[in-house]
Symmetry: C3
């Protein structure tokens, strides 16, 4: 595929420990490569089962020019279909989310079942075979309640990520939760810069006062003590905090070892202590919702999951916050943040929506500004691939994943 020959050259300029070449961040071509090739070759986080709680509930996941309908069938199964009518191509579902008994095209009323079968089409010629005009499906995996989709015909493996993630989040039973708040933030930066920003807390001390009320930056980006790596960060305080809690967590039976991007894999699962006695990621450190979602009461800990290339998630005792990211353009990224609480929690009684969303709404806004400055500066002639600090090793991990999967996706196209 000669169209992306220049991208292949740029991917070769990758240097371990350094940021990417300029055009991979800001180029129009790189955006098209990412949206049409690289991101379509991998599993992407879309939403949770709580976003499509009942049969007929649908949720749109859109990447670049393409739109997918994630819908729960009458049999309870969650499936994904291309959001395009098989007649003349109209977009079937226009609303981002909703509930339908079946999927009817707004143009000429062709009607499909929740399983994608074409049920009705008026006045077609005799040679028309209804069975050949069902909705085109996409690969979908339910990972312990997190829904991942893949646009490729032959998706890459997902088994180990599925096992590692599902085992640890089972405790929070996503099926019993509901979406309490959802924010769409369009960041004026390349999606990879939004991801890189998420993968380090080198910037946190100055930029995120709200987040630091409950987050210990020592536990972020340097690995937990058992990974045995030397580290110039003074992490004695963090280690002590972790050790103090760890024994208690093991007794309670919910402690699991860190899983950090196992060789060739794309997930990190970490049980972390919260800072300053907080029991939830909130402004005051207290729970945001009175209906707890796990069985261990108010504990100063959260479980966090990061996946390449487009998501992160934090599980507290009272709520879950989950982030999914898609590029909209070379310098435009949609970050969708969902806050989930217990399905029985009542707004205004058990939780206040603004309080629930306060920490990450503020943090997202701060990160958006930083990512936009990052993008703006990289566009300049002064940019050179820069060296990562010791605290940015997970940025390097993300970048390396991007380069490796990009190279592989090009190779698969015979480029």
């Amino acid at each position: 595929m000669t169209r992306f020959a220049a991208i292949a050259d740029l991917l070769k300029q990758d240097r371990p420990g350094f940021s990417l070449p300029q055009q991979l961040y800001v180029g129009e071509d790189a955006y098209h490569f990412d949206a049409e090739v690289m991101l379509k070759s991998v599993w992407l986080y879309a939403c949770t089962v709580a976003h499509v709680k009942n049969p007929g509930d649908f949720y749109l996941f859109e990447l670049g020019e393409t739109s997918a309908i994630i819908v729960r069938g009458r049999d309870g199964e969650v499936r994904a279909f291309h959001n395009t009518c098989t007649h003349r191509g109209a977009k079937l579902c226009d609303a981002r989310t909703g509930h339908v008994p079946r999927i009817m095209c707004p143009y000429h009323q062709w009607t499909f079942g929740l399983d994608g079968k074409l049920l009705a089409a008026r006045n077609m010629p005799p040679e028309f075979e209804k069975s050949a005009y069902g909705l085109r499906p996409l690969a979908l995996e339910n990972v312990g309640g997190l829904i991942f989709v893949c646009f490729a015909e032959n998706p890459p493996p997902i088994d180990r990520a599925k096992a590692d993630i599902a085992e640890q989040i089972a405790l929070y039973d996503l099926g019993r939760l509901k979406v309490a708040v959802q924010d769409d933030l369009i960041e004026p930066a390349n999606w990879k810069l939004v991801m890189e920003n998420n993968r380090e807390c080198y910037h946190c001390d100055v930029s995120h006062p709200e987040l630091l009320k409950s987050l210990s930056t020592y536990g972020f980006g340097k690995g937990l003590p058992e990974d045995g790596e030397a580290d110039v960060v003074d992490d004695a305080k963090f280690d002590a905090m972790l050790e103090e809690q760890r024994q208690r967590w093991e007794e309670l039976g919910f402690y699991r070892d860190l899983v950090e991007f196992p060789d060739g894999w794309w997930h990190r699962v970490a049980r972390l202590p919260l800072a300053h006695g907080a029991v939830s990621q909130t402004l005051d450190g207290k729970v945001a919702s009175q209906k707890l979602i796990w069985p261990h009461g108010e504990e100063p800990t959260s479980l966090s999951i990061w996946t390449q290339p487009n998501s992160w998630h934090h599980f507290c005792c009272d709520h879950v916050v989950t982030f999914s990211l898609v590029p909209l353009g070379p310098d435009k990224t949609l970050l969708r943040t969902s806050w989930l609480v217990h399905e029985d929690a009542v707004e205004g009684v058990d939780y206040d929506a603004d309080n629930l969303a306060a920490v990450w709404r503020a943090t997202n806004k701060q990160d958006s500004k930083l990512a936009s400055l990052n993008h703006a500066g990289i566009r300049g002639d002064g940019y050179r691939q820069g060296m990562y600090s010791v605290e940015e090793k997970l940025v390097d991990a993300f970048k390396t994943f991007y380069v490796e999967r990009g190279v592989a996706a090009l190779a698969a196209q015979g480029a």
Copy 2:
């Protein structure tokens, strides 16, 4: 012309009875091909003689990057010129419509006659020859009062379309009409999807309550009975309605047989009965203007004209509504709708402008939404060329015209 090599390949993928390949609808290249090559090789409907009623009246017709002035000369002739000064290229007329004694450039006051001759240019060097700097003309044809222009040096034939159309619309004498209302609607869809939407009523039953007050969908898109084709639509009711009226119309002398895109031609002219006793395309079925524009009183019929690739027109006993369409971008189309009434009709006395425009203003808005959903869905990876229904044969006719003229235009460029 290697620039459009990819377009040539796409045009070859056309299948009779199926919609076009994705990129011909949504691609940036296809837009450039359409605006710069295909649409410049054919006759385009611009406006009526009523839009440039008096000497010095001008009207801009703009396609892609280029702008044409349609202006009536002192001799009564309507002419078209490129709207670009021959000095340093400034746009001569900025307003969409207006009246001028002569055409003066706003930049350096070079002055041209209404016939395009350069009349005055200050301080030019001795070698300057004024006669070589007149305005560049465009081909223009007055088809019974409908103005068509062509950007090509050698326009295709227009004689048969001119004869068929002029003969049937003479009854409504466009020269005596005036423009009562004009709407510009920018539709977020490719222009071909706006056209396809116009060429079928498969979508009408659900989408167009206002239009269906006077339109019988049975007569649309399936051909009139005399075309002898089998049709799965149950059209008994329509046939009866037509037969009942037809005899009366023949006696009155204004009935003419259907002209439906004769071989190689690009026009359809149909005398149709209105539904539900309506005598005009209005919300209540009554005339919108008290000053009738034909000599046969209030009859439940309209004359409709469709031309490839960019217009349609409906002639009622009291008013004419005429539609001209140009692409503004891959997913942006300007639909200009003009409602014409008798030149002696007085607004507020003989007609109410909102009532006059109500049916098609609502219908245009509904169609715009459908076309935008069509465009959005085609952009997705799930799109495949889809099969037309029996009721979409005029969509197929439009699409075939597009493909044939596109292939011819490329061939003419040696591509």
Copy 3:
């Protein structure tokens, strides 16, 4: 560099005395060529020393995708650096202008001195060498108080322009002035059309009533009498006006001969008489600021400087107005106008900001409209390279500079 092969062909189509080929004005490629190649091969006017009056004052100069910080050091020197952090590329200064003790990156707080040296970077790996990560400098020249920068590694000569300009503007000592008003106007036209508009007054009589209160169009664009060229303009009145003043100016010791784009050079410096007894470029012809900036009192004269390819400047006895222009897109140009007065002048006491800016604010707006019409007309198919009038010889000079430097810049790239 094959990317701009089409531009090379277009540059060859240049004809002396005629405007450029269409695509050089309106093409996307030409914009990229201009912003990335041609304009980066020459000296560009950025601002005055008054814009960075004190150590730590900075001012951003941005061209296309790239941003430069112009900053005065603790040693009083003005320097330019790429506005991109050497760590991960964030934009260092986001505000257009400001004052900083040192340059600190907002992302991870890397800190640079005003001389560009990296002072601090946390937690970098052992192999990191701080001295290799200073800010990347740009070429900068202080031309008698006018700051020019060049993005090229090897900037073209500037010595003669520097000498000619600095000698004549010394009288107005820019170091003692302050910026009283600054306007940013985004013109919807190609930057070359904005420049061409500035290089003739063929359009002034009809378009610029405010400017003509103090400007004699006779002295503009035809050369002063001593250049010995024949001219069809009736300039007797202007000649008389100049002669009358010239003797007086020579006695006062500030008269200098016209410098008009000496062979291969890019500057014009002209001492001109003001019209109608005006002593400043104001609506009423009176001074706008009571604190004069030169030693010769209120004289009916101004000193004007024009440079290729992006600036012009007018020095009156009481104020200076200076214009810098950069392209923002094919049809989008930023014109930044600064009005400078004596540093001791007090707003509301010695000058009224609106009165100071009135003439050129109105003139800029009028010119913006003309340039936008020029751009719009050139986009049309009707455009052909047009012949310049006798009054447009400086337009020709600008255009020729553009073509010659464009050809040279392409040659330097081996194109």
